[in-house]
Structure formats: C-alpha cells, structure tokens
Amino acid sequence: MMEKKGVLYQGFPSMEELEKSPGVPSKDRIRKGPVACIECVQEIPCNPCEEACPYGAIKVGKPITNLPVLDQDKCIGCGNCIAACPGLAIFVVNGAREKAQISFPYEYHPLPKRGDTVDCVDRSGKVVTSGRVLRVVKAPNYDHTAVITVEVDQAYIDVVRSIKRLEGSDDE
C-alpha cells in the first residue's frame, strides 16, 4: 500500500506543501545567509511568531488562522521565532558557508554539547547524515525550548530538521 504524501497522511509536510507555504524562503535567499524557514502549512488559530520577530519579518494578521508570511528580505535569521512557535515548526537555515547550518527547536533530555557529533534526521525521523553541534542555546524566555544549531553537508539543507534523540543517563 503506497503511503500518501502530505501532512494529513504522513504527519509532516510534503515538499510540494512546503514550496506552497508563504513561510518558506527561496533557495537563493537561503544561499545568501541565515533565514527563517516557517514550515507551517495548516490554518490553525496561532500567531506568536508574528510577535516574536524583532524585525517585523513575519506577518499573520487577522484572522489569526492565516499562514505566517515570511518577508525574507527583512529576516536576518536571528532565530527568535524558533522557540516562540508552539508547534516547533520554525527553523533557521544558512546556506552561505561551505557547510549548511540548520537551527531547530529541541525539547528532550539530555541536550547535546557544542562540538558533539550527532546523527541528523529528516522530517520522517530517518537518520540521513551526521553533523556537528555548533551551538546549543537555552534562553530563559525560550521556557525550556532549546535551540540547537548543527552543521551538515549542503546537500542536506532542505532535509535535516532535527537530531536523533540521545540516550539518557541513569544517575540515580
């Protein structure tokens, strides 16, 4: 039985759904430097991303079910929106360097450390490549949503959106 593509059937957006989303930046823009990638494809009443952006680069407006629209020229990729999204659906991608950098929200224990080599996964959770952890940010206003930045080969810039969960330590 062929698995149907799309968020309603697979639980993650298909490439077609992402391309149609007003929150996803163009490939050209990604090559220029860090930029937000808002993988929000369903209309639900939700707008914290709009308020979280200090540069006014995200617009939801009214009704708040509107999909967020990214102004990729205003966006500098600061990443404030990543932890603000209740759906953990916002990422920052940077294709300007030799290796691709992908920042994503992460809410598991334990957290990786800067410099760690980790298994990086695609939207279906499949390990596709290994990457190096560049940054792990835990700001108080993120309220326990850590933002991790990994470095992977450029080929994976549209693919990697998280890491495989790490084994917990049993210190009783």
Partner: protein, 364 residues
Amino acid sequence: MKTKEIAIIGAGPAGLSCAVEAAKAGAKVTLLDENLKPGGQLFKQIHKFFGSREHQAGTRGFRIGEQLLKETEKLGVEVLLNAAVYGIYENKTLAYIKDGKDYALQAERIVIAAGASENALSFPGCTLPGVMGAGAAQTMINVHRVLPGKKILMVGSGNVGLIVSYQLMQAGADVVALIEAAPQIGGYGVHAAKIRRAGVPVYVSTTIKEVIGEEAVERVVITSLDEKWQPVPGTERTLEADTVCLAVGLSPLTELAWMAGCEFTFIPPLGGHVPIHDENMETTLPGIYVAGDITGVEEASSAMEEGRLAGVASAESLGYYDEETAKALKDEIWQRLNSLRTGPFGEGRFKAKIRQLQARRQLA
C-alpha cells in the same frame, strides 16, 4: 445548610476561569473539586498553547494553570478540594462528600464545569495491565513523574494522541508506533511532525487487532483497514510493546446536569449528548450554567473562555454587573471564542456550537 452565591463544580480550566471572573465582579464564589489538587487536566499540559496573545499563546499549559490558581487565591475564592459533588437537587442544593463526610450546600447560582472523560476501546486483550487511557499515561508522567511503561503503542491521532506521544518521549519512553483507524491524521500537523521527526511511525487506516500478554501487555497486533473500515486479511503486523495508550476521544461528564433536569441535545462532533445552553452558558434550568468540556469536547483555551462567560453571566444575574458592562465583557469573550473556532480544525466545532445554541432557541 449553608447558602452560597455562586457554586462552581470542577476546578479545571473552565471552573477556575469562571471563579476568577465571578469573584472579580464581586460575587462570593465557592469552587468544589473531587481531586486533592485543583487544575483538572490543565496541569498535565506541559506543551506551549496555541492561539493569540490574549489566549496566552506560547505559554505552557501548566503555567497558565498556576496563574489562574494564584488569581483565585488573591480574589478570596473559597476552594473545597477532595469534595466530590454527587448530586444536584431542588432549589439548587448540591450534595458532596469531603474527606469522607457528607455535606449539602445551597447556591443561588451553580456552574457545572465537570469536564469530560476518556473513551475506552474494546479489543482482545484490552483489559491487560498496560492498556490505559492516553490521559492516564499523561497523569502518571507529568504529575506523578513515573513512567507507566517503556515501549508504547499509541492508538488515535487526535491532538491528545499526538501530544501525549511527544510527552511520553520527553519522559524517556519510546513510542513504537501511533495508529489511526481513519484514513488521515486527526490532530494538528505540527504535533504530528514533532513525533515523526523523533522517529515515531504513524500508520493511518490501521487499528488494533489484539493485545497479547500473560500478566501485562507484551505484544500488540495491528491490522490495516480498507475504505469501509474493515480489517484487511493478511495485513497483520506484530509489534513489541509493554503499554497501549488509547486516545480515542472524550465524552462529556454530564451526570450532574442530567440529574438536575437540564435539557440535552445530541451533537456527535461535541462528544455526544451535551447540555443545551444559551449565549450566557445558562442551561434550560434558570440559574444553572455549564462551561468547558461538559458542554462539548474542545480544548483548554475554549474551556477557559466559556468559564469566563459563565462567570460574567452568573455575576450579572446576581446584580454584580449592569447589563451594559456585562455585554461588553461577554462580547469580548465571544470574539476570542470565535477566533479559536476557525480554520479547518475549528470550523466543525463552530458549527456544532451553533447547533447547540439553536437547540436552546427552539425550546424558548
């Protein structure tokens, strides 16, 4: 027997919000809950809520609960815990058992905010230890800090199934799969995306065939369904699991409303038989209001808004607000409620609530 102004049954998000609004208006409020701690299901919600800033979007559910609780304390709301209300009788008298003793109190206004309970599912092996409601697992991990199992099969892809799967992984368990009998995922795509990213397979058009084990769950057998929702022979798969969580819907806990004599209507999208109410959340019995999941299964945000409505309306009916002030407050709340009931997920609930209000008008 004591007479209270406003007695609210249930200290979940609807009851707490109702207490805060009514007390803000100046009414004397008594809040009863059968549990040892207030908050209902709100304190188990460790994820960030959606909505707008007025809905506290981006704030974790349990923090919203903590805020509400502080406000009830500040406003001097009388809170009776471990107090199970078991009956509503004539003249708005309610009977409750608290700490093993029997009491009765009379109120000028009653708000029933009793919430909803999880549905069960029947299949061979469904009574084995390890088969439990998804909410039960959520209670164990987020309130009691104990894992009910390590390898979980989640049944149901509504928001409860998706969110609890995520929370089980945050607690250190593995979710071996999430199955959904319908041909598509029922809850938010963003919730599903989080668990897919974590490696949880999601199988639609799939249901449980049986659960196997001697003293507890050891293995589960799942099977695919055809377009007529019938099992397709030969598609059975066996998965190793020690726990099966059922997230197959909620049903409003309506016993007290039935007993009191409120009129009901049958609206499947809201969970079945629901009490009829008007725009003030008042039932067909004057002075008895309902709010939250008891009126129809939605979400915590709608429960809080309905609670606020009932709080303002009941306080208004006691003379604590004049008509104009109350209308302004209620209009604001209705605007926020309506904004929650929009989009492909909310529209259905909006229509269902319209049917419920129409049922009230037809009886007038």
